[in-house]
């Protein structure tokens, strides 16, 4: 069921001045039109091939150190209803992007979903369908969705720490912001676009990045002054991190050479959060080279932490167990370390939240747990 319609923000001058869709960005869709036209002329059912974005079809790219799409392809054919609809929608989407380019507009993914109300039988049935089609277009054209003037509704995560950035805001003004001194308790909120034309790094005193799953833990570290005492940059992942959060992590890691550690709950879902940060997500495997930070390391909570620190834990649910078993067949987790970690969790049948460390008091995480773990990892 679609969520409630989000209010549309008035388009500003700055947006109108954004560069138009580059003429060649949509070139592959012209090729697709040619292909379909010739298939129809020959009496063939229209169809196209696309690389499969499934767990079975991701391959490790040695050069970039990330997991990217493999060579297996699937066929999108007008023989089936879903395939026929997606082919038709591709052309509606191309029309829409061209229209936005002509009028100097951009659109959120959510707006795109509602725009399709006017596409007659091409109308999307769910936002998943529209998001998938945009990803398909990224794959087809080897571009990012921003190149098609499409962006997600949500902003990225918030960050706290001694790093100074220069942001060109939506009014076109350039602001220099220190992400500890110039922000409140909420930190600096990453915009959905964190590319160079939007955000530049000025200087950073932070020596490493600690990416944290839950807001409560970010607050705990900030309140305890952990970022100041250890020159850390705190990044709130907010569960599965948005593209811009992962892109930001990659940029600070590559451009500022800051090590990235990931601190999450100790459960199968948190392992997946780490995998998407470090190795790249399956859904965005076509752009892993932009988003994944191969150098990122998993700090915890690990299955052995639950034992070693004797943390309050919950029993794994049936769903948790299924998720862990699925991870055993996920190529991204096919290392000896991850296998033993997953198997240990399955064996103990326990999971724990990162905030369960509060068992030993509010300062325990900053005074004992993190320093111990970070030393072990060679970060501190």
């Amino acid at each position: 069921m679609p969520r409630k319609r989000a209010p549309t923000s008035p388009k500003t001058k700055a947006e109108e001045e954004e560069p138009k869709v580059r003429a060649d960005a949509l070139r592959p869709t012209i090729d697709l039109a040619r292909l379909i036209h010739s298939q129809l002329l020959e009496g063939e059912i229209p169809r196209m091939r696309l690389p499969l974005r499934t767990k079975q079809n991701i391959a490790f790219q040695m050069r970039e150190g990330v997991w990217r799409l493999g060579k297996a392809t699937g066929t999108r054919s007008a023989r089936k209803l879903d395939g026929a609809l997606m082919l038709l929608r591709t052309f509606y989407l191309v029309d829409f992007i061209n229209e936005m380019a002509r009028d100097g507009k951009t659109s959120t993914l959510r707006e795109l979903y509602y725009i399709s109300e006017g596409w007659e039988e091409g109308k999307f049935h769910s936002e998943d369908e529209s998001n998938l089609l945009v990803e398909d277009l990224e794959v087809m054209c080897s571009r990012l969705r921003e190149d098609f003037r499409l962006h997600p509704e949500e902003n990225g995560a918030s960050i706290i720490g001694d790093i100074t950035i220069r942001e060109r805001n939506r009014k076109g003004a350039v602001k220099t912001i220190n992400c500890r001194e110039d922000v409140g308790d909420g930190g600096y909120a990453l915009p959905s676009n964190v590319e160079k034309e939007k955000i530049e790094f000025v200087k950073a005193r932070a020596k490493f990045v600690i990416a944290i799953e839950c807001g409560g833990m970010v607050d705990r570290l900030a309140e305890n002054g952990f970022d100041e005492a250890n020159d850390a940059l705190l990044v709130h992942l907010k569960g599965q991190p948005a593209r811009s959060t992962r892109r930001f992590l990659k940029r600070v890691n590559e451009e500022l050479k800051l090590p990235v550690v990931v601190f999450t709950d100790g459960d199968p879902w948190s392992f997946r959060i780490f995998a998407s940060v470090a190795y790249g997500a399956i859904k965005t495997a076509h752009i892993s080279q932009y988003l994944a930070t191969p150098g990122a390391e998993f700090l915890g909570v690990t299955a052995s932490d639950i034992e070693n620190y004797d943390l309050p834990s919950d029993r794994l649910s049936e769903v948790d167990i299924k998720a862990l078993q699925a991870e055993l067949s996920d190529p991204r987790f096919a290392t000896a370390e991850w296998r033993s970690e997953i198997e240990l969790m399955l064996k103990n049948g326990k999971k724990a939240e990162q905030q369960s460390l509060a068992k030993y008091g509010l300062n325990y995480v900053t005074d004992h747990y993190l320093p111990e773990k970070l030393k072990e990892m060679g970060v501190l």
Partner: protein
């Protein structure tokens, strides 16, 4: 009791005796509260409504009057735990002298010894409600009854005297009542009104389904009025009273029959007071029992009665007849379900199953099953099972009932419903009605809420339910095929033309001819019936389209239920007709690729016919290339025209499909676990 030499004073004996009686009726009630259905306030209300409604239905039917019942439940007083229940029927009314006995005396009834299918069997019912009301609120029952012969209605207030098991009339008057005849009972009792599974509303809904000839109105305490209109104005045939059959006869009952018999001797009594005993058989029975046959029936000793019963058991008798049964019948089951479930808008009403009568013990019984699927029925819940015995809904003890275990022992997965482990109640948007009719229902207990396990009953239940389940399976596979067809039509009629247009415009080219692609996508012959009903007729248009790449010569067979078939008219005129089987057939002119033809059927106005009721079979094209019809069954003995045979023999050259991964199907299943923006 210890005997004393000195007789106690009379007054004490009297006191004791009267106390004994008082204890007996009140205690009888207390001890049997549960089986009488008065164990808690919620159930007490339901039992009261149930007994009054059953009486109203029985009385109306026996008098040949279409039942018209009104049940009003309202709050009484401030305490919140008392309700006033009024149940009114438009039956024949009750003559003055019988009113106190009917409502104020336990175990008073006219049906206890009758051998026919009836709702109530013991006559405990309504007077137990009067007793319960008196015990919990000390308020009398108020009875209003008018018979057609009298000007005014008799209004009596009475209570059941627990000392004497006799009615005590507190007041009596004659009032004007604006109706020809009818009865109304009002009670104030400790009770609780709820909605939900075991509620008066559910009881009345169930009653309305299996009694489509009744009109029932319920007014709830908050003023909500719910009306179940009648779906037919035909009364069910009155079940005939049959003589008791020796199979299943108990010794006590035999004794009663002997005593009550007006026959001169036992031979005559056997052949005329019992069913299935011929004159010759009566001689054999008497002989086997070592009796003369000329004894007066009432004179037999207990020992002789036992011998007689053994004699009856040892002799071959005519099986009990089913005349005492009153099945609802397939037509009315369907109407009843449709009438009451109208707001749920189910997708499918399976043709109801009515099994022929069978005998267990000495009693005939039969099983009827109705099944409804889809629409607003909840898909994630267990199947809704509506159990009925002699047209009375059974709301309690579902788990202990033979009907439930029969449903649960069927592997519903084979019929298209989910079922954990292949037994127990299946899950799905499905409602199953099971009605058992018998002159003696084998209840597990006097509570009359569950049927006892029995081999013969179980076999009949299973056969009937399976027959209904097979209809469900057929329906589901039809739905699957229809979805497939509607997807294909959406592609060729809407999506493909637009896709061609948009792709062509993007590269500035003319739109190519789509016909060859359309036949490739469809690659089937479709047959689509459309039913249009208006005031003057019901018309069915059957469109046959050849969406394959080559011309087709087809033979189309239509099969309908023969009664409906007899009403049909056709255009064009069929090649042949078989009225007995309800079949008509046509040889169509050669149908070119992408060409279409139609057959039209006409029925008189208001004929009950739906697309689902029409079965089509087609020869001249194989199953894989046929949509909306089935291939001609092999066991039909029909001579096909030469052209059809040749067409069928020509090998179908289907397109050779590469083994390809469907991108969109893979996409849909891949992104369940990961969730990111």
């Amino acid at each position: 009791m210890p005997r004393t030499l000195v007789a106690p004073a009379r007054s004490i004996a009297e006191q004791l005796a009267s106390k004994q009686r008082e204890i007996s009726v009140a205690e009888f009630f207390e001890r049997n509260r549960q089986i009488l259905g008065f164990d808690n306030p919620q159930r007490s209300l339901l039992t009261t409504v149930k007994e009054a409604v059953d009486n109203g239905l029985d009385a109306s039917e026996e008098a040949g009057i279409l039942p018209d019942l009104r049940v009003e439940i309202s709050k009484e007083g401030e305490s919140g735990d008392r309700l006033r229940v009024a149940v009114e029927d438009r039956g024949p009314g009750i003559v003055r002298r019988e009113i106190p006995n009917v409502f104020g005396r336990l175990l008073y009834g006219s049906r206890f010894h009758s051998n026919r299918q009836a709702r109530g069997q013991q006559g405990i019912g309504i007077s137990a409600a009067v007793l319960y009301a008196g015990l919990t609120t000390a308020r009398p029952a108020r009875i209003t009854s008018k018979i057609a012969e009298e000007e005014g209605a008799r209004v009596l207030e009475l209570i059941l005297d627990t000392q004497k098991n006799l009615p005590r009339i507190l007041s009596e008057e004659v009032q004007l009542w604006d109706r020809e005849h009818g009865t109304r009972i009002e009670l104030v009792l400790k009770a609780k009104y709820v909605r939900g599974r075991q509620s008066p509303l559910e009881y009345l809904r169930g009653t309305a389904i299996v009694n489509p000839h009744a009109r029932i109105v319920l007014v709830e305490p908050d003023g909500t009025k719910i009306t179940f209109e009648r779906a037919t104005s035909e009364l069910p045939p009155i079940s005939k009273e049959t003589l008791p059959h020796p199979y299943g006869l108990e010794l006590g009952e035999l004794g009663y029959l002997l005593k009550a018999s007006k026959r001169e001797n036992i031979r005559e009594m056997l052949s005329r007071d019992l069913a299935g005993v011929s004159v010759r058989a009566s001689r054999e029975v008497v002989g086997a029992a070592g009796l003369k046959g000329s004894e007066a029936p009432a004179s037999l000793s207990g020992e002789a009665q036992e011998k007689l019963l053994a004699g009856l058991r040892g002799v071959e008798l005519v099986a009990p007849s089913a005349e005492g049964l009153s099945p609802i019948g397939p037509l009315l089951i369907k109407r009843g379900l449709r009438n009451v479930l109208g707001d749920v808008r189910p997708d499918f009403f399976a043709p109801p199953v009515s099994r022929p009568p069978k005998v267990r013990g000495g009693f005939p019984f039969l099983v009827e099953v109705g099944l409804v699927y889809g629409g607003g029925l909840p898909a994630d819940q267990p199947l809704q099972l509506l159990r009925f015995a002699n047209r009375v809904p059974l709301l309690f003890q579902q788990g202990a009932c033979a009907i439930t275990s029969a449903v649960g022992s069927i592997d519903w997965r084979r019929y298209g419903l989910d079922q954990k482990g292949g037994n127990g109640l299946p899950t799905g948007p499905c409602l199953l009605l099971v009605h058992v009719a018998s002159t003696k229902i084998p209840f597990t207990s006097e509570a009359k809420e569950a049927l006892a396990e029995d081999e013969d009953l179980d076999r009949e239940l299973t056969l009937a339910i399976q027959a209904a389940a097979r209809h469900l399976k057929t329906h589901l596979s039809r739905v699957g095929r229809r979805q497939f067809a509607s997807d294909k039509f959406a592609i060729i009629q809407k999506i493909l033309p637009r896709l061609a247009e948009k792709a062509s415009r993007l590269i500035d080219q003319p739109v190519p001819d789509l016909a060859p692609v359309i036949t490739k996508i469809m690659d089937v012959v479709t047959l689509e019936p459309t039913v249009v009903a208006d005031a003057s007729s019901v018309r069915v248009t059957v469109e046959i389209t050849n969406y394959t790449a080559r011309p087709r010569v087809l033979e189309v067979f239509l099969e309908i239920d023969p009664t409906t078939f007899a009403l049909a008219e056709y255009a064009p005129t069929p090649e042949g007709i078989d009225r007995g089987l309800g079949r008509a057939w046509w040889t169509l002119d050669k149908l070119a690729s992408n060409a279409r033809t139609r057959i039209e059927l006409g029925f008189p106005a208001r004929t009950d016919v739906e697309a689902n009721d029409l079965d089509f079979y087609v020869a001249g094209v194989d199953e894989a290339h046929l949509l909306g019809a089935d291939p001609l069954p092999g066991d039909w003995d029909v001579r096909l025209p030469r052209a059809i045979i040749e067409a069928a023999e020509a090998a179908e050259s289907g397109p050779i499909e590469e083994e390809e991964v469907d991108y969109d199907a893979a996409e849909a299943s891949a992104h369940v676990s990961e969730d990111e923006s």
